[in-house]
Symmetry: C3
Subunit: 430 residues, 3 copies
């Protein structure tokens, strides 16, 4: 079957039909996965963590992106720096743990020692001709956007990160993430391709039927609907929601807290979208009672009732910033069929568990929602394996941002695998 | 080693020596496995279950054939129908369980809803240009042969199913499978290629040394022997068995129960073989005491002592129908190295466990035999991995039907991968 | 990235830079792994066990080398013989256990029976034209070097085994391994490529920081150091050690026990190295108190204080022979990412556990050391996966023998995959 049609990556990319989900090999082929890692995850800015992951000098966090292990360390001048986590001698992994605190970076194998600037400062028995200065750690590009850490594995990272940072800075600053700490982290391995995880995140068409907890604070109306299909009750609700957005934005912006929608999901290499959205009920937080989960308010937020700032980045993150806490999500592809979803809940650094917040209440909505989404991603992955799978139509009302994700992805693939560059015809999805 | 000889699929097929087992890549190569799935399992009729799997309207059974998931549902008019188990929207698997009962088929993801005829009857937010009639479930060919369910994934299934059905109908009808229920189902993952599982089933040369339970009711003589090797005692036994077959067939046919051997294992696409064989001892059933395991007799069977009707189909099933119960077996390839053997024991639908039959007694012989066969298949799979493996000779007296299985298989591969068709040279076994 | 450079095996081999570790695909690519198995493990002499593994007639040991299973049996004339562990009928594995005792070799499947000379002596139902003499077991080359068993899977094994045997015989004879028994065997699956396991074994640069137990008896100085880096205390120690080697060799050789270094690690196909090295402290054995672990001395060893005879062979073994016990190690590649390290501790055949030796004391040093080495191998395997990995420089003072291992390996690959031979361009590491 499959071998009767052209499944070269070039053909798959060229054949993509706008408005429809991708062809199956994009979700199931390890060859396409390898191409994704090269064309997307080794070229663009990736969200990998937050400054509170490494609060003190010598604190190290490691993160694995495909075959690469990266270590992120706070140096003695309080800068965050990133290096490839590979000794320059025999190639041993330097830091094995996800989190550690070090003086220098010492390889366990033969004790080669690097300082936090990445310089090789000690290596025994190497003889007189050996030049330590040629054997420092290989650096990785790193940027902190108001405490959100992005890295880029490319030699030359996309320049438009600055344009995103200029816009997003004022949105994020009032939450002051550098003054938070991680109350909880949860790693979930979803049984599907990373693109299915991302597509799932980019629409709320599925929320009503699948997310009983999330839809307590969140209005599904905020993510689109077919107006002609609403009955009278629904129309009234949708109108109420529309007014609420209008009123809230006016109020919040007047209080100096940017809230308007900015969307560059498929017209920038560093694609992103943001909007501050009102919440239902008490309107304070992503909790089951829609009230603040934490008593200590974040940063300079003027009130508890600030809704939730949504921030989405291509290819691998989304975030919700409320008055009392924030939740940040990163997606790390593991193979064509599995993806790591890493979720971190941030509270004010002085907030005390059991006093200022109840942990179960803080994390309850998203722990439930993540698992529900993971199941849905798995059903799609299973479906995409079938010979009977064919791309289906996206809803023009509720899946426009899924479409934009696919557009962005196809653009990245085209940009990387253009004719004339080596490798364009090499990968074959089967 | 291997790379010094031509291991293209075309070469392997062309090189097959009649009377000998297949070359190693037929058992060990994932590339040949993929070719098997395409050339055999996506083109021929496959046995997948029985009507009692879905006795009532809305009952659904799912079965996975390689990368395909198929759902078999009984509709409101009591017909059994089969569809690809894939939503036409985002491709999610529709029914996750092996068995379920539904009103309509509703996708969990965005609530797209199909009726039991496969029509899409509900899909929200799709806008005004959307045509539901183009997005029904994809049908799969399905046939019930007196309650035995066969499906075919090809667009045009082999036409000779009817010829088999015409012959087999009268053999099967007296057992009235539609009036049975499944007393027990057992799934066993055998550690070998599906062809080794089938080859193992197609001879009883190994029975004496490996199946102490099965050879209580079953005569190994019924499956061939080298006459010149028998000693006096064995010769007397073989003669007794020969007479028994003659007498029983005369008696059973006179009672209106077809019993003669019909064999089309390698001269039809829908290859099959049948014969009603006498049993040892009480002669009633595949049990350790050779007596009926269930008090309620099946269908219109005139007596308890009806031996066992054997029915074998290519590529993936065999069955034993006795007066009191039936055992049906399907083989579903999982990968080059693993195969699912699914066994179902059927009793009269009114038979009550603990009253009319003892479950352990009903299933004991085949539970033991299946495990013994699975071990043997595993030893062969391990052997086929070795560089020292080379095709060995089949016994002309006891392995003729193994040879016919291989003939049939090679014919199917040739028919699918003929020169001039795309793909013939593509697969390479390594 | 990778697809921009030539990763064909021929290019990788040609590009190897002396003095540096290998390029990543040599450690991570399954294609290179398959080439290793063909070019190295199916062509050279491999250490697989000791005569005490099969002490009595009919004793069988099986060992798996890649896809091949080999059975080693002691015949009735006390010879050790080796065969492919594959029945010539349907290819079933004959002996399933690692150790067994048999009269004849009987296949479980259809009872084909071979005597210990490999002749097929029984096969039922095969008809009159069948020639048993064409269906004997396939032999494998086997040699015992003073009780150390080596096999070779090639049709024509390397002839220089004899040259090694001529040299090594006198070194090994005083330990009389044929008169020992296996006190303990331990199988450890190391999470790395077999070459990383071998490289780790070929230097002691890592011993100081990683092997607190091993460095009690063993002098790291014996494996090289940069003289200009020693401080005064270290220099004194190194000098003490140098004198000790000189004195011991004189003493031992005078007692008729060969001790001098012989090294042919990269100038023979059957590459090896040996030297008898003094031990620290009591100088008797590889134990935590450096004293003999076993009261019964081996063979004709003249004293307890005989140091440790080191014997290393390419591609897959190393050994330590002391006055009271011996430890033999074999490495068997499992896949590109995993290797089996099999360790056997040998004591005099009359030694009684709990009386003549304490098992924990006997095996303690190497049980700890093996696990530490396994961890180090794993860190390197993880590092080699990274896009940032690049070959690093070997220490000219402490990693010369790692360099010789790589030289030998690259020579073997070149010899096997020379232009003009089929297959040289085929493997592609990705």
């Amino acid at each position: 079957m499959l071998d009767r049609i052209d499944t070269s990556l070039a053909a798959l990319i060229a054949r993509r039909v706008p408005g429809y989900s991708l062809e199956a090999p994009f979700y199931t082929s390890e060859e396409v996965f390898a191409a994704d890692m090269e064309a997307v995850f080794e070229t663009t800015w990736l969200f990998v963590g937050v400054e509170p992951d490494v609060p003190e000098p010598g604190d190290v966090m490691t993160v694995d992106i495909g075959r690469n292990s990266i270590l992120i360390v706070r140096d003695d001048d309080m800068n965050v720096r990133a290096y490839h986590n590979v000794c320059r001698h025999r190639g041993a992994r330097l830091v094995l743990e996800e989190k550690a605190t070090v003086g220098n970076l010492v390889c366990r194998y033969h004790s080669w020692t690097y300082n936090l600037d990445g310089d090789l400062i000690h290596a025994e028995h190497m003889g007189e001709g050996f030049d330590r200065s040629c054997h420092g750690l290989k650096p990785v590009h790193i940027r902190s956007l108001e405490g959100l850490i992005f890295i880029c594995l490319a030699d030359e990272p996309p320049a438009d990160f600055d344009a995103m940072a200029d816009v997003m800075g004022p949105y994020l600053a009032p939450h002051n993430l550098r003054d938070t700490r991680i109350a909880y982290q949860h790693d979930l391995i979803e049984p599907g391709n990373w693109k299915l995880t991302m597509e799932n995140n980019r629409e709320c068409y599925h929320c009503g039927a699948n997310h009983p907890e999330l839809t307590v604070p969140l209005f599904a109306y905020g993510f689109g609907f077919a107006p002609e299909e609403l009955d009278e009750v629904e129309r009234a609700q949708a109108e109420r929601y529309g007014c609420m957005v209008n009123d809230s934005h006016g109020e919040w912006e007047a209080a100096g807290v940017p809230s308007a929608c900015v969307e560059h999901l498929d017209d920038m290499v560093t694609g992103y979208r943001t909007e501050r959205l009102p919440l239902d009920g008490a309107g304070e937080s992503h909790t089951m009672d829609t009230k603040a989960a934490c008593r200590k308010r974040l940063g300079t937020m003027p009130s508890d009732k600030m809704g939730a700032l949504h921030f989405w980045t291509q290819p691998n993150s989304w975030h919700h910033f409320m008055g009392d806490h924030a939740v940040v999500f990163s997606v790390i592809p593991l193979d064509a069929h599995r993806s790591l979803l890493r979720t971190k809940w941030l509270v004010h650094k002085d907030a005390v568990e059991g006093v200022d917040y109840d942990l179960d209440n803080l994390i309850g909505v998203w722990m439930a929602t993540n698992q529900q989404d993971s199941d849905l991603v798995g059903y799609c992955q299973q479906g995409a394996m079938s010979a009977a799978y064919q791309p289906g139509p996206y809803s023009p009302h509720t899946e426009m941002l899924v479409e934009k994700f696919c557009n962005w992805y196809i653009q990245r693939m085209k940009a990387h695998f253009t004719p004339g560059r080596a490798g364009v015809d090499a990968p074959r999805a089967a």
